[in-house]
Symmetry: D3
Subunit: 197 residues, 6 copies
Amino acid sequence: MSEISRFAVPKREDLPHDMAERIAQVEEKSGFVPNIFLTLAHRPDEWRAFFGYHDALMDKETPALRKADRELIVVATSAESHCLYCVVAHGAIARIRARNPRIADQVATDWRKAELDERQRAILEFAVRLSVEPWTVTPEQLDALRGHGLSDDDIWDVGSIVAFFAMSNRLVHLAGTMPNDEFYLMGRAPRGEAPRA
Amino acid sequence: MSEISRFAVPKREDLPHDMAERIAQVEEKSGFVPNIFLTLAHRPDEWRAFFGYHDALMDKETPALRKADRELIVVATSAESHCLYCVVAHGAIARIRARNPRIADQVATDWRKAELDERQRAILEFAVRLSVEPWTVTPEQLDALRGHGLSDDDIWDVGSIVAFFAMSNRLVHLAGTMPNDEFYLMGRAPRGEAPRA
Amino acid sequence: MSEISRFAVPKREDLPHDMAERIAQVEEKSGFVPNIFLTLAHRPDEWRAFFGYHDALMDKETPALRKADRELIVVATSAESHCLYCVVAHGAIARIRARNPRIADQVATDWRKAELDERQRAILEFAVRLSVEPWTVTPEQLDALRGHGLSDDDIWDVGSIVAFFAMSNRLVHLAGTMPNDEFYLMGRAPRGEAPRA
Amino acid sequence: MSEISRFAVPKREDLPHDMAERIAQVEEKSGFVPNIFLTLAHRPDEWRAFFGYHDALMDKETPALRKADRELIVVATSAESHCLYCVVAHGAIARIRARNPRIADQVATDWRKAELDERQRAILEFAVRLSVEPWTVTPEQLDALRGHGLSDDDIWDVGSIVAFFAMSNRLVHLAGTMPNDEFYLMGRAPRGEAPRA
Amino acid sequence: MSEISRFAVPKREDLPHDMAERIAQVEEKSGFVPNIFLTLAHRPDEWRAFFGYHDALMDKETPALRKADRELIVVATSAESHCLYCVVAHGAIARIRARNPRIADQVATDWRKAELDERQRAILEFAVRLSVEPWTVTPEQLDALRGHGLSDDDIWDVGSIVAFFAMSNRLVHLAGTMPNDEFYLMGRAPRGEAPRA
Amino acid sequence: MSEISRFAVPKREDLPHDMAERIAQVEEKSGFVPNIFLTLAHRPDEWRAFFGYHDALMDKETPALRKADRELIVVATSAESHCLYCVVAHGAIARIRARNPRIADQVATDWRKAELDERQRAILEFAVRLSVEPWTVTPEQLDALRGHGLSDDDIWDVGSIVAFFAMSNRLVHLAGTMPNDEFYLMGRAPRGEAPRA
């Protein structure tokens, strides 16, 4: 079985120009091409929608929802879905964004005991609930996040990141995509650099 | 609480042209604007990615994965997430596509006993598994779908529809979006017409 | 497989007089014989106990527990058991009793977001708990219902309806009984008439 | 809190004649009145339906479904619902019927390892499934019971006992009924006598 | 299958002296050798660690954590794991320690309704939580136990008994060990004597 | 809150000689003292039983159950219990024993997709089952492990490791013990050295 997909993986030279270009940028920045870029590549329209959605949610930083927080939402909810690719790849980015080499392993196994502040813990509690039993989300829980300083835009982002990765987890399980070897060690030493994914 | 969202809902006259146009087309065809088009409208980039992804998966028909089958995947998996909007809206479309006024209620409550053929039952069994416990999906289960005549492209579509609506279900629960009243009765009489959603 | 049962279904002309008479009354009132009357008919003593129990609980109306409320308890708890017959048949009656064509679909999929008042929501919350994890019911939860105006007789009725349909759901799953086609559309148009079931 | 009920318990002298008579018979035979006879007594019609149904299913013996087997179905499924009254009261009767002082405790805690033959184990496996996740019951599982010598009437009885005690468990949890002290020790010594319940 | 183990069971005459002596003491006191002493005997080092750990936790009595309370923790948590040996053997000891012939059956089936005081109920609630979903234990829950008079040493004992029997339950399920017949009746009559186990 | 325990942690100079010596050996070999050695130190008898049991199971290697396999059993089952200390500490040892820097993260998140051979996958499937729903273990499952070359002694070890860490996971959750920082990075570079734990 391929490490990338149980489905067709197109050759890079056959990809549409916009996709090839984005992939080349990621490779230049990270030093490798994260497998998910190739897993989805046999479907260009879906690929474009997927990464367009991703970037709209993840390449953003607000005072109450930092880039590191966004990555930790991915790690916590993907761990509940046992999504190896998502936990390892976004765990790497989370370590770098948070400048904390332990935080991803902690959040993946037991976010309740991780080195988080109260705001972060409230965000992850809400995120895991929306991911695992979304029908139990109430307006009062949104208010609780507001009490931790999140704006409505931040709360929308929290929920949308959860939702987007509920999709992503299932695509990865469908395809059987494995994490690139490079992700496992990233951000574990004092200095590192995050891939764009 | 608004029927449409717990978050900001922009006025239609303030929407970007491409979004306004698409919404006008839907309204003309269906006679109303499904709420989800407005729930997501405060975030144009996400709106475009969402509907681009949706259309790539749902506006398609192959011999082993008819439009009706695609809608039934949405109904079965959204019922597991208790997503009222998705069950009612896509249930309406499923009734019309399948020309069967009972099928959506059956699949929403107990797909195992619904009026389905063996191929459809195998699709829904796989879909519900991928939605609810995606980590248990195996290559052998993909082979089982091939045994029912699905191509690799069909299987990718099944899985991607499941994944896309895992996202959609959670966005709807986040926003608290209710189904439009019109959906409840659509497709229940001998003749009806489906909205584009 | 028969739509009515995996077990013997006696001919109507062979039924004991009291059963035949009751079935004829239902048929006259509703225009058809709900399948459950025939599913259980091969066991006259059980049939009599079943419908005697049913009528004692369902053909009753108090200020804090209307007939419509009783039907919604059936819909909410039967949905948790994926009981297609019960959801569709009692959903039909609930629509008629409540004069609301949307309420049954809402309660079946997500009673938390249905068009209910606070009293109704408290009743359904208690009912679903008693149905799904009855060992967690406490005297304090009974007090909470009293706080919504329910008498002890009303609370007994709520609990007994839950209990009776826990039985009914399992009998239907045992027999594989399907809902009559007539139920699906009942009560969806402005005017309708409920069957006695 | 009363040992009998959180709801009204009528005085025995105020009971309708048929109920008083049946209760007197039980008392004469067993030496005490099992609490369930009083828990339900405030509702004579329901009381009559309940015990009519009970007797139709439990006071019966066939070669492939003995009285002891019927009681063990009650014990196994009531244990899953944590129904103390049902486990203790029907455990007592099961010990007597099966002339085995260990069997009830075994079935209540782990029917898989209890001193049962293959037919009994198949019955309990089916019964627990119908009780806990009834929507997963299939015609093939009914065939498996036929393979152990059960007739269709026996299978109906198995399923109906499961269904009836799904109701009974929930009524007991609603009322908070405790087992009479006498049940705990019954059938544990070599010779004992079962109450009629 | 042996009643004692699916694995090798050494002869008593072949056991190391310290093990043989301890087993002889238990036999003298109880009148029989509880099977678990033989199940583990093929591994002397593990046997010694197991019973050393057991005695350190169970042969102790403090004002807020009596020997009977310790046995009831074993019964409640072992029932959640469907561990027949542990429920029956420690249920016997619990009846004797508590001088209550009903308490073990009550705690095994539904500790919420058992004849317990508030302190005992709080202990069992914590114990079951630590046994079934240990990741949800919080410092606030430890404080709640302190509020019932438990010292830190008592709380450690509660948690360690839960932990030790989480191990014990799984060893018993691995080996398929059945309870000795003697346990079933112990402590059910007014006077009895507990085995050392 | 201390990183080591919510309970008393004795000073190293106050420890009994045998415990102090063992801890000094671990420190010399690993370069630090794993927190679990101190978490349990306030109870010397339990400490001795715990580490005696641990060493009897983990410091052993057979052809069909290597030291690395033993550590992976700990990682897989501790991940199900969300035990951060166990996953991180034994994940570190597993990486070193297996000479594979990715294996622990894989097994912790989704052992089904980890880089394992068929024997290892069968071991982990059995181990997770025994850990999470031990009552479903059957003699046939033991035979399946024999089919992968495991001896009865190996199977006993598999099951005992599962059981021992079911205990260990709960002790760690009770105490709130965090992993030492050193564990996170161990075994991730090509060469490393395992601590004795």
